[in-house]
Point group: C2
Chain length 555, copies 2
């Protein structure tokens, strides 16, 4: 054997070892592994640096576009990840990080995820997933029953049947919404006469054949941005997503919806789908779903409910009635990585009629053959991991009653926090919680008084000041690293629909206490006294005084 051949052989054997050996029990990576198993919360607390580093600083550690030629020791990469990645990641599990929809995970999700990854199944077909396919079909069945409450016979006949699909698993709510609207679109333009169906001939010929000038989807202005993305991807165009006005509580206005539908009909635009929201992303409100079901029927439209956030409210006997009408939806989006407390990357869409997905069914020679039970024939994705295993485990280990407790405590905490804000002199509640989300903003007492007396121009001026202050407070609080609320813009009718910057709080983490929430308000109020925002505060005060003095002079 020549020298270079010997070296190549040695390297190859080293490479094989990577696939066969295990990490030594005392290695850096093993120690991290064990630490996470023993004490997840402690690991996160100890390794994530609280104070936020500027992103451009962080980028310096990830600046090299070269793939190294030579292998690196596992321990070296592990240490790099701990110091540079983990340290500068976001503590999504922290009870004082109430700004996003990612919460703490139940501890058992970690070892179960390890089993899932160790098995490395591919759910596209039974040949690479075997028992995972029946398990995934069962998970879809369990959630289907939670929403649609069909009888036992319905599920016995369909849950494991090759010609039915109670739903489709996706990597998240966006793909679930796209899948639902893809089904709706294809269903609206079926094969007929000389037309072979939109799935084969496309949208252009479909509209020509059926004599339409376009196709539209309607949703309230609080609809998730993924719906706009769906309209683009599906070839309808983003303008085909029609935003309907909402009331003071961010719920779709039936009259505006009906008028828009009639207007579209006059323009010979096909109404593909009406989308109801069960838990708007920004404010957590629920549309009047039963009313929407009626309107959808009236206009022969697919009725989709985006329950990515609010779906699990159905676990709660007390609050499930908020979603009344969801059982009339043709399709429903659920996100498992939100309120089912599963790790990132698990969503799904359910179909009332399990033959509906035939509108998007596809086959290939080597997999997902016709008549197989392969789930890949009715999903947007191809190869997919076995996340259904984690949903299955959550549903069984936490159980309906466990999820009920989680849902109830979140809603009740949101109500208590809303009261706290209402009673606070320096904050204004902008959207009242219906589920476990609320929004508020910084507003000192004289500003609120001035707003109630000001004319529209003055109101805008005050709101513009408050916007800049609220934005500063949110950003600064995040950077300090003790707590995190997110921010968005809403257009409250009480302020002439002027876009107001608000703090957004999502109360899904059961470890968040009222004490923590009180501390968040205290820190925000303290930050309002910092020099960096002083000139803005002075400007606000001037505007407020003008209004109040003019008002006092006039009276």
């Amino acid at each position: 054997m020549s020298g270079s051949k010997k070296t190549a052989q040695a390297s190859l054997e080293a490479m094989y070892r990577v696939f066969t050996v295990a990490e030594a029990p005392d290695s850096a990576l093993s120690r991290i592994d064990q630490l996470i198993s023993r004490n997840l919360a402690g690991f996160l607390q100890d390794h994530i640096v609280a104070t936020e580093k500027d992103l451009s600083e962080v980028e310096k550690d990830f600046a090299d576009p070269n793939i190294p030629d030579k292998p690196m020791f596992v321990s070296e990469q592990a240490q790099f990840l701990l110091d540079k990645l983990v340290a500068n990641s976001v503590h999504t599990a922290s009870p004082s990080f109430v700004g996003h929809m990612t919460s703490a995970l139940p501890y058992f999700m970690l070892p179960l995820s390890k089993i899932m990854i160790a098995l490395n199944q591919n759910l596209v077909k039974t040949e690479t997933s075997k028992a995972f396919t029946p398990l995934e079909r069962q998970v879809l069945g369990m959630l289907h029953r939670l929403v649609y409450k069909k009888d036992g016979g319905f599920y016995r006949a369909r849950m494991h049947d090759a010609h039915h699909a109670l739903g489709a698993m996706t990597s998240g709510g966006t793909l679930a919404n796209i899948t639902a609207l893809w089904v709706a679109r294809n269903h609206a333009f079926p094969a007929e006469g000389s037309f072979r169906g939109i799935h084969r001939e496309g949208l252009f010929r479909a509209l020509r054949y059926y004599g339409h000038e376009g196709a539209a989807i309607l949703v309230s202005r609080r609809g998730h941005y993924s719906l706009r993305k769906a309209a683009d991807v599906l070839g309808l165009g983003r303008d085909a997503l029609i935003a309907v006005d909402t009331d003071e509580d961010n719920r779709i206005l039936e009259d505006d919806l009906r008028n828009k539908c009639l207007e579209l009909q006059r323009q010979r635009i096909r109404i593909l789908a009406i989308v109801g929201i069960a838990g708007t992303t920004e404010t957590g409100h629920v549309d009047p779903l039963d009313t929407l079901a009626d309107v959808a029927r009236e206009f022969n439209a697919h009725f989709h409910v985006d329950a990515a956030w609010g779906g699990p409210t159905l676990f709660s006997r007390q609050y499930a009635p908020l979603l009344r009408g969801i059982e009339q939806a043709d399709s429903v989006t659920f996100d498992a990585h939100k309120q089912l407390y599963v790790p990132m990357g698990a969503g799904l869409v359910l179909f009332k009629d399990p033959t509906l997905v035939r509108a998007i069914e596809h086959h290939a020679q080597y997999i997902i053959r016709k008549g197989s039970k392969d789930l890949g024939s009715t999903t947007l994705e191809g190869s997919r991991p076995g996340m259904a295993m984690l949903i299955h485990s959550g549903l069984r280990i936490i159980g309906r009653e466990g999820y009920e407790l989680l849902i109830n405590q979140g809603i009740e905490k949101a109500c208590a926090f809303a009261d706290m804000i209402d009673q606070h002199s320096h904050f204004e509640l902008i959207s009242k919680p219906e589920l476990n989300i609320l929004t508020y903003r910084f507003a000192p007492p004289d500003a609120l008084q001035a707003l109630s007396q000001a004319d529209q121009r003055q109101r805008e001026k005050i709101n513009a000041h408050l916007n800049r202050i609220t934005k500063f407070l949110q950003k600064t609080q995040r950077e300090r690293g003790k707590a995190f609320v997110s921010r968005t813009r809403l257009e409250p009718p009480r302020y002439d629909s002027y876009p107001c910057v608000v703090f957004r709080v999502v109360l899904a983490n059961p470890l968040t206490t009222l004490g923590i929430l009180n501390e968040i308000l205290r820190e925000q109020q303290a930050l309002a006294g910092e020099p960096a925002i002083e000139s803005e505060m002075t400007a606000l005060k001037r505007t407020v005084d003008e209004v109040l003095n003019a008002s006092a002079g006039a009276s």
Copy 2:
């Protein structure tokens, strides 16, 4: 406190514990966790049952559509999963399972995945991912450079820039292909004059405005089925995916492609994209990419390369030239969960021009605001896990040279196995390996002789017999559980393009040896002697004898 309130309080506290405590070190789940860490291969070997259980039997364990009311002990669920799910899953890591594209994982992927899941970041925005966003941008940069080899300045200016995206991460190759073609479609119909762009006005108005009768995508008949799905989702219709004929080696025929393009032009159909394949799913062949680049330029079409399988061939100095021309592609699909050896759920698409994704860029108020570095503004998915961390680790720990060894050994093993089949009396090689995939079928010596002497009708008859036998052997071998090859249908020109059932072998697992492959052939030959296939073998012999006797009589 009343009794029921006390109970509720106790339950709530139990629920909190699920989010705070760790698994006891001696619990069932902890023991599995440790076992996987210590000996992954042993865990899989011990817990997956070799002999295949009928799917309808497995379904019985997943038949209940009810979510249990009461919580279940974690240990009970863990035991259930071990006995019912893990036992009946597929041993994708086994070196004798060479039928699919899912291989064994390097051991370090498991503890690293645990860190990823523990952190539970959401890559849609920096606010919920922080350092993961620069890391993901770096991973895209590393693979971009592997393909496009731009200079350092190119990456310094663009890799971390909010207005550029070198690519987009996805959950797999299907979404990567859809994303690429979505970009191509939107790019073909930009805003102009009174037209606000297809992304806003949709396909119907785009075609009308630009005066086209339709839009098409061309790919060889070996193109992955996800491209047909993409054509459907994007509103073009599946018939808009035009299948081009291939040569004996499953490579696209340039003349046929050019003729089809000219024909489409005559019909005023816009050619959106030409797709080249770097490693066809069924046979592992590579299209002449440089030729395709020329044709795409000629017809002003987007040039996309689906390198989901073959992309990592670029790591090998010896074999990278097979992909010559890939650097001219406007977009390239890579699958990380294939030959980058990352767990299921990681794909990506790269863009030569990092401004191209602006065609699909979208924003929202509360996240992915304009000017942010949030990666969610240019991805099809919304919330996404931090899989980029695992790709990053693979690229650094295995290194270019490590991946080169893996690629080289796979291709060389495929060549050696092809020789073995060629020399074997009872098998016929159907597609020669170019990368590490090959196909073959069962064909006893007299059958091959008869095929060479038969007329077309007789050839079909013999091939039909061989199809049934090969199908039986594949299915039975899988059920016995010792080895697994997959099967598909190909239309070899030498057999008048008659659809032939073939065994398909993918040699990505470095632990697969020639001895194992030899054993696979031995078992297949032995299975051909089983009673269940005896009548088919007899029928084949009769047909073969007819041909050979007639031939002998004629000579």
